[in-house]
Amino acid sequence: MIQVAPLPYYLILSGVLFTIGAIGFLVKKNPLIMFMSVEIMLNSANLAFVAFSRYLNQIDGQVIVFFIMTIAAAEVVVGLAIIVAIFRSRATVDVDEVNALRG
């Protein structure tokens, strides 16, 4: 059987991916790429869940990942529909330009 890499390696990779996703969400102004960054963050959380599930021999972690994937799909569908609706009404999707609710 092929040896599995130690758990901290998976957690470090998960943390680095989460950080990259967080940076992308903070610095980007195209909402599509912000959504992609959110997907990276969700995937890094999934990776940590599956790694713990393997090392603790608990299938529950994988069940939670299944639910996270469902929620990610729902979130992307509604989010992209909102982006298309914004583009229709304002002809831009730049998040700095969409400021009608600004105080």
Binding site: M1, I2, Q3, V4, A5, L7, P8, Y9, Y10, I12, L13, V16, L17, T19, I20, A22, I23, G24, L26, V27, K29, N30, L32, I33, M36, S37, E39, I40, N43, N46, L47, V50, F52, R54, Y55, L56, N57, I59, D60, Q62, V63, V65, F66, F67, T70, I71, A72, A73, A74, V76, V77, V78, L80, A81, I83, V84, A85, F87, D94, E97
Partner: protein
């Protein structure tokens, strides 16, 4: 040893592709890099003997969700130069926050909370991964499982309502 080399290669590709998602300008290139990241995560799921989730990852994420992304990118064609930042020094602040986040992760790993986790994973059960996941999903987790169906229905209705043309 083979497992470590495999992990190192996949991890480097995953991080590089994720960085490309953040750094590239063209949204289509970002989407393709994201597919590479998702594929790497699927490979890592395989290395952790979560075969079902690896298959779902490729089908749902790399298949369905990315096609949706590409459709919206082609629909909007948002290839325009980025406007200047409204908040000054946004990138610097984001970098500082990222450093804080990584430092916190390092603290957690150093603090010894992982000592409760065995250093080597237990042997894989004789039951197949799909069977074990199905058993858990339809017994202990059956109520949340049914609730996700309601969630998906809500998402479908929401997308249809939002995507409809506004007719007076």
């Amino acid at each position: 040893m083979i497992g470590l080399i495999f992990f190192a290669i996949v991890a480097v590709v995953a991080i590089a592709a994720a960085a490309a998602v953040v750094m590239l300008r063209n949204p289509v290139h970002c989407a393709l890099s994201l597919v590479a990241t998702l594929g790497c995560v699927a490979l890592l799921f395989l290395s952790l003997s979560a075969e079902f989730l690896a298959a779902v990852q490729v089908l749902v994420y790399a298949g369905a969700i990315m096609v949706l992304f590409l459709f919206v990118i082609t629909l909007l064609n948002p290839l325009r130069p980025e406007t200047p930042d409204r908040l000054r020094n946004q990138g610097v602040v984001a970098g500082l926050l990222a450093l804080v986040l990584l430092f916190e992760l390092w603290l957690v790993i150093q603090s010894g909370v992982l000592a409760a986790v065995p250093a080597t994973p237990p042997p894989v059960a004789d039951v197949g991964n799909v069977e074990a996941l199905g058993q858990a999903l339809y017994s202990a987790w059956s109520v949340p499982f049914e609730m996700t169906s309601v969630l998906l229905l809500t998402a479908i209705v929401g997308a249809v309502v939002l995507g409809r043309r506004q007719t007076p």
